[in-house]
Amino acid sequence: MTDNVADKRALGRRQVLGAAAGLGMLGPSAAFAQAGGPWSQTPRSKVDRVNFVVWTYGDIYSRIGKQFEADWGVKVDSTISSFNDHPTKLATMFAAGEKIDVSQSSPFSFPNFVNQGLVEPIDDLPGAAEYIKDFTAFTGQVATIKGKTMGLPYFSAVWVWNYYADMLEKLKIDTPFTTYDEFIEHCVKAKRDGVSRYPVLWVAGVGLEQLPGTWYQMTWNRGGTFFDKQGKHMLGPGSIARETLKWWANTFEKGLDIADPESLKVQFTTSAKAFGAGKNLYRGPNHHYGLNVVNDPAQSPIAGKVKVHSSPGDGRTIGVTHVYFLSSANRNKEWAWKLLQYLGGKTRDGNYTQAVALAKDAMLGSGYTSVMKSDAIRTGWAPWGDVDAILKTWDKAAYIGEVCPSVYEPWHFPWTDQLNIEVQKCLTGQITADQACDNLIKGIADAKRKV
């Protein structure tokens, strides 16, 4: 929904090429500031400023904003909030009629944003086809909604386990677990020997992919899903998801009491920080990049002692890509597209500047195949963990949408609210796994009514 009449002009590839050809006859300086791909073309229209609404991550946005201003002479305004506050901030700005050129989304909020008209498709924009060709499998699954490409990748991550090598050595265990039974054995031994009061720290804090992600990952690794391709739930009695929850709940206080009670509060980064205290043997499956916190000497007393570990069985795991998108509330589509590329694509020099910086500085994976295969990943990740081991896990990862296809549905969000509640009640022994799953089955209809 672009409000300016001038902005409502569709910017097709043909138009841009036609304009470029025409202007090209006038001389090279008139059309493009610099020869090269579409990312280096100067938009024909003029704007004073552009803006993005994102969640905070270090200083990446001030850096890329400055680069955009230096390259194009257009000021970049930013609205930056915390990850959890971002959907609220974006929603209120959109509802209040403010201009938003570019924003970002987790894959879980994304179908809702698309459904509510916040997002514009990018298929026809200059250079989009090249980006799409370079998308990794995850990215294609997240960014494509109802057959249209709705965004460019921010970062990708896969779920891996971590273990504290010194503690394993102290327990005289040669290698980390290869089966879930072995995992329990190790944890029980660590507790019995007084090496760790709570040998496992799970990521079970409330969130869209924190607590749910842990359950999704372990269910998928055991061969289960939450919904089948036709949308029928797979949570009934005897289902893999239900049995996984029973197993998981048994690690908490009312069962084996090997799970750290902090698990119920921690998110991805906070769990890495808590694990850095060196009190747990294993850190449950979660985003791989936590290693750059827990193996950072400035942040962790056990830096360098935390190793990455893949899941039991065939090692299958889950992965995810977060995206940037072109807002329908943009002030100028050409410039918004330009800014979107700076965040989720190429800068004027034709480099994936942001994706490479994120790989190097934050150990994040990229949504582009070419970046994933580049040296940026190897050199960027090497200080924090075993790059080969993570990339091996990467190859065995499926997008969360395959495990829980409801992520594509607008009702997934309210259903996840209930999932967080039911599973936490189960993990704290207030209800059984059977009751939790039964409630979640009933909750599907309730969630659909809330949409």
């Binding site: 902090e262 704290t428 949409v451």
Partner: protein, 294 residues
């Protein structure tokens, strides 16, 4: 100009301001609550009328009833604790003969100056299971040998949130009670003392009746604010574990601002909350405030 008319005109600007700032959002929320309102509709300003549908959805939602129950428990615990503590502390700092009471009077205001979110974050750290100050103190004093999961245990989480809330808002009640205490004529106490009344009887028959009006004000205001508690929940538990600390305002927030952003249903739940607060305020005024004015 007659005094009555003059007073009316003098009140008009205030009235208009209150209507604009206070009444309009409430009326608009009421309007939204009977329409289908998502993000797209809100931006376009076009809402389809749905009648009482949103209210029906709220009443059908078991989570709403759970949140309401938690809100009632939270309100009862915080308001009653605040009232008792405020009277006790105000009586103490009202002792003019004790010079330290002047310092106490100043220090007591500090928690009220702390932003609610910052307060929540401070207490979140205090309650931390393995690294929190509270468990560390209890452990050091030998009162426990295992850390207590204050905010992570469904049996204690709601009560754990009441403490930071009381800590932050108590000064307001203390100030009101302290001000009221200073307004009680000394002669009443002197007369009671001449009649041989003990300290307890002086409190019961002189102080407490004279505090009734301020108690009514505290009850109304603190109940209204406790019913709408949000910041401490956001900072400490985010409603968890499970739904142990889902309160009514948290419910409205989640329904409204989390995708799919059902502003209509969120407004309906907020409106129900507002009506409940209004009803409770009327009860207070009828049974406590009126007795004083009679």
């Amino acid at each position: 100009m007659p005094a009555g008319r003059f007073a009316f005109f003098m009140n008009v600007p205030t009235l208009l301001l209150l209507v604009l700032v206070l009444a309009w959002p409430v009326i608009y929320a009421g309007y939204l609550s009977v329409h289908r309102v998502g993000l797209a509709q809100l931006r376009r300003g076009e809402f389809a009328f749905t009648g009482w549908e949103n209210y029906g959805r709220v009443f059908e939602d078991p989570l709403f009833w759970g949140a309401l129950q938690n809100t009632l428990v939270f309100t009862f615990v915080t308001v009653s604790s605040e009232l008792v503590l405020a009277i006790l502390i105000a009586l103490l700092i009202n002792q003019t003969g004790v010079w330290t009471s002047r310092i106490t009077r100043f220090l007591i205001l500090l928690p009220y100056a702390i932003p609610p979110i910052a307060n929540g974050l401070i207490w979140s750290f205090i309650y931390s299971f393995q690294f929190g100050f509270l468990n560390r103190i209890l452990f050091t004093l030998g009162l426990t040998d295992v850390p207590v999961n204050w905010a992570g245990n469904p049996d204690t989480a709601l009560y754990a949130v009441t403490v930071p809330y009381i800590w932050r808002t108590l000064p307001f009640a203390i100030i009101l009670v302290h001000a009221a205490l200073q307004g009680i004529p000394r002669e009443l106490y002197e007369a009671a003392a001449v009649d041989g009344a003990s300290a307890w009887r002086r409190f019961w028959h002189v102080t407490l009746p004279m505090l009734r009006s301020v108690i009514a004000v505290i009850l109304v205001l603190r109940t209204a604010f406790a019913f709408a508690v949000f910041e401490e929940i956001l900072a400490i538990t985010q409603g968890g574990p499970g739904d142990a600390t889902w309160v009514a305002a948290w419910y409205s927030y989640k329904i409204t601002f989390s995708p799919p952003n059902n502003f209509g249903m969120g407004s309906a739940s907020a409106f129900i909350l507002a009506l409940m607060i209004g009803a409770i305020a009327l009860v207070y005024m009828r049974f406590i405030y009126r007795r004083v004015t009679l």
